[in-house]
Symmetry: C2
DNA sequence: CTATTCCATGTGGTCGGACCACATCAAGTA
DNA sequence: TACTTGATGTGGTCCGACCACATGGAATAG
């Protein structure tokens, strides 16, 4: 077993044993290296992996926000992984879109009308009505769909949703250039968003699921991506 | 931007540009370091991340299987990420089980009866009938469910299924100890597997989805995990 | 006494060089 | 021909040094 994997195992055990909590800090690289009797190089390689996994964040300097602190951003890892494998062309974009439809349909069908995430979603729609530019509109769109998925209360599904979105973010931005009339599309998307949110708020999960599926598939179809779902 | 991120970006661009294909090899660490005018340390940190993401595999020695070769194992990355975040107690096991039910239900409902994965699934069931030990039984069970999900033909869903399974693998193994009568449970699981596969083979996706959901939820409920789905 | 400046300290980030273990392959040898 | 041996090239590990950065306290000017 390689040395950095040993370090990784030690740190993971600290997590499992509850000795390392969210917001906590890992020992300094030099200290950890001495403690585990390995080189700082190996410690650093382990930390790089944890960082890529969205488990820690390394910060230079001193005081607050310095050192290597424990965070919880699973979507970071999932997104990076999906993005890389998409780059190698071994994750078809169509499959990603299909998965997104699957997860998001489930999420809205399970969303609880009293969830505070829905209030945030409503505010985001107001922002999209205020006539932002294309880039700003897409940013709000991302946050809207994320808020919707959070209303279902399953953090795994939310994280996967966010990562799927991140994986094809650059791709989706390109798609807008394929659209014949962005203003018309934006108007349609806004109306569909309202309809989805209304269905969720009135507790009609089935209708919300159908609407969101049609919403996502319609967009990618219009932009020229064949979503088999 | 940190140096290893620069290296990471360069390699990712090679992927995007199609200059680095599956089975291909990265330049040697020392060569890449000189080419990009960075230290070997930074190159290695970038490779560590790619390795964690299931994009490359580093092999020592010489000749075939040596050097850093491009692979495509997205489930590795997703599984490691979910496992780590589960260790930090920020991904509830119940959410993972619920997500698994969601994905697998969809997969069997969409499975194509002519898929070769279903033939493999049938063989695995024969193996489980041959009376293996608990550990072997669980290993076959993992592969059976994975084969089922592959029959839907969506690699993203399959990868996520595999990673969810991996994330709670150790956890699930512990659960068997909670079961009052393993032989009885194993017998029930075998019968349920047959029923699920039959439903898929006869094209009754809806029935298969219901059966697989009940199958998974029933198991975890019996083992003492509250699966809200 | 107060406010400012400055430096000691500790953090991660980067670098170059050295050596090791390993696997292959070619040259040399029996 | 068959075996042995060494050269070569790969990743794995370690060390020591230096840098950039952020903080906080000490020294200093007012």
């Amino acid at each position: 077993m390689r040395t950095h994997e040993l370090v990784l195992g030690w740190i993971e055990r600290q997590f499992s044993d509850g000795k390392l909590l969210l917001g906590g800090r890992l020992p300094a690289e030099r200290a950890l290296a001495e403690q585990l009797q390995v080189s700082r190089t190996s410690v650093r390689e382990a930390i790089r992996i944890l960082e890529a996994m969205g488990v820690v964040r390394a910060g230079v300097g001193s005081g607050k926000d310095a050192g290597t602190v424990v965070i919880a951003e699973p979507a970071t890892a999932l997104g990076a992984a999906l993005r890389l494998h998409t780059a190698t062309r071994h994750l078809p974009v169509a499959d990603i879109v299909e998965t997104r439809v699957l997860l998001e349909s489930w999420a809205v069908s399970r969303a609880r009308p009293e969830s505070p995430a829905l209030a945030e979603a409503a505010e985001l729609l107001d922002g999209m009505d205020a006539g932002p530019g294309t880039e700003e509109f897409l940013a709000l769109d991302v946050r809207f769909h994320l808020a919707l998925s959070e209303a279902a209360g399953n953090v795994v599904v939310s994280a996967m949703m966010a990562s799927l979105r991140e994986a094809i973010e650059g791709y989706a931005a390109e798609l807008t250039k394929n659209l014949p009339d962005w203003d018309a599309t934006a108007g349609r998307l806004r109306a569909e968003h309202r309809a989805i949110l209304d269905a969720v708020n009135t507790g009609d999960g089935g209708k919300a699921a159908r609407l969101v599926a049609a919403h996502i598939e319609g967009y990618y179809r219009e932009a020229g991506v064949a979503a088999s779902g």
